[in-house]
Structures are given as structure tokens and as C-alpha cells.
Symmetry: C2
Subunit: 82 residues, 2 copies
Amino acid sequence: MMKFTIDITIGLKEGMLDPEARAIRHALSNLGFPTDNLSTARVFQITLDAPDSDAARDRAEEMCARLLANPVIHRYTVEVRS
Amino acid sequence: MMKFTIDITIGLKEGMLDPEARAIRHALSNLGFPTDNLSTARVFQITLDAPDSDAARDRAEEMCARLLANPVIHRYTVEVRS
């Protein structure tokens, strides 16, 4: 078994309304920071034991499917670092 | 002016309690996914106009200082992509 650190980034699918991003963009604009676009995402950085990098990735994707992400509204990326 | 895309990642400082991370780690464990460690962060992906990459970074850091991050509890990283 080896230790792997995995970054799981979960954001909203294209076209989903993101009222929080809209509010932040508005607040930044009021502070004098205009932006063309702003989106938000969550990152879960996880350290776990796995036999190899592919197994670590599979486990992370299963965590997304089972708990972390809602497949109706979320897209996610999994990045395995050794 | 050029367009820059900036990833601002905001997490809790080392040593801050993260009850959400703890709850997620517990839930993953109950589902059969034991982890050594789990931390959470937020990412704001921002697109804006700036004269150059350094100016884009400065603006992003000011956004963190003024609105996005709480310097008492948060650490943040700014990554400028062209």
C-alpha cells in the first residue's frame, strides 16, 4: 500500500444557476473589482492508502458518486498526486 | 488589457478546526472509504481584464484581502492562468 493525496474538485455543471457566485461577483464589483466571470467550486483534499495510482483514482471517483457530488447538478475532477 | 483566468483557493489555516471535513471523513469511513486525512477548500475561478499577469495577481490578492478570505482563519493561494 502507498499513500496518495487526491484533490477532488466539485463544481456546478455548466448552465446551473450559482446565486452565491453572482452575489460575490456583485460585491466585488461594488468594491471596485469588476470581473467578466466568476464561478465557485469546492475542493476536498484527501490522503488515503491504495495499491497504486489507478486504484486511488477509482476510490476517489466512487467517493464522489456515493457521497461528495450530486450527479444531477455537479461535475467533478479527480487529480491524484503521489 | 488582456483577459486572465485566476484560480483563488481558500482553505482553513493549519490547526483550525474543520467540523465539516471531520463529518465528511466520518461519513466516508462509514461507507467503507477510510482516509488518513481530509481537508476542504473553496475555489473561486475568476476571469478579468488586466494589463499583465502581475497586475491580475495583485488584483486577486486584493480581492482576497478585502472580501473573499478572513485573514484570521484562512490561508489562500492565487494561480494566474492566461
